[in-house]
């Protein structure tokens, strides 16, 4: 078989498992397709270094993992210092007292989520988070991943993950405070 035929074969056979894995890792179809395309392109150009020692799919998966890590690294590379001075003064104390306001959840959190308006408010608040925070937040809750796994898959340090979670939740708390609890 020529190189072209082999690659064509691989695309036929392995597109599905690679795409499923990529969607799983990236939670986005378009980005998954881009990354898998890159996997085949790079397999095509480094075909000579594949010596058939491993299964083709294993080799392709290795390339995929590297590409996904690259993708996240680029996305998080310009991670700015996560500023907390919106919430805290220079001594690290709370700037204002709105955190003290009581949240009336006597009607239980479960019922809150049955409330269409509350769901909308929550979705809007989640949407307002920067995308580089949204991904870790979602991964953290989806499949109840543990922090070390999330930080490994995203290729960020656990310290950075704590900061992202902290900052995201501070922002969500404030958003719900103003847009829901202070209103109702």
């Amino acid at each position: 078989m020529t190189k072209n035929e082999t690659i064509k074969n691989w695309i036929e056979q392995y597109s599905e498992p690679l795409l499923r894995r990529a969607v799983h890792l990236l939670s986005d179809k378009v980005e998954a397709e881009d990354v898998v395309q890159e996997v085949f392109i790079s397999a095509f150009s480094s075909y000579d270094s594949f010596e058939g020692k491993s299964q083709p799919l294993t080799w392709l998966m290795t390339i995929l993992n590297r590409k996904v890590a690259d993708f996240y690294r680029k996305k998080y590379k310009s991670e700015p210092y996560i500023k907390l001075d919106h919430f805290f003064d220079e001594t690290g104390s709370w700037k204002n007292d709105d955190v003290l306001h009581d949240w009336d959840v006597s009607n239980k959190e479960t019922e809150l989520l049955d409330d269409k308006d509350f769901n909308k408010t929550l979705e809007d608040c989640l949407e307002d988070l920067p995308s580089r925070w949204k991904i870790p937040m979602k991964m953290y809750y989806l499949e109840e991943k543990k922090a070390p796994e999330v930080s490994q898959e995203l290729d960020i340090s656990t310290t950075n993950l704590w900061k992202i979670l902290q900052r995201s939740r501070m922002q969500l708390r404030e958003c719900l405070e103003f847009n829901w609890f202070a209103k109702s």
Partner: protein, 90 residues
Amino acid sequence: MFKKLIHMIFLPCSEVTLLMEKRNAENISPAENWKLNLHLKICKWCRAYKQKLEILDDILKRKLSQEKKPEINNSEIQDFKEKLFKNLDI
């Protein structure tokens, strides 16, 4: 004034809220846990925040676990293959 004093002796609230995340993920050292508890005893702001964090955590758990991951279907996979054959010119 009292607020300021707390933070000279104990941790600043900005750090305490980070420790809450670590504890939530069961990734906190005993020393950090001790400091966190001590701070919570004397700081009503962080106590209030902690309470809201628990509510928020519960809400997010329910909300985000309901969310489905995008699924890729067979015709999309087929389209992808064809596009790729064309792009790679093979």
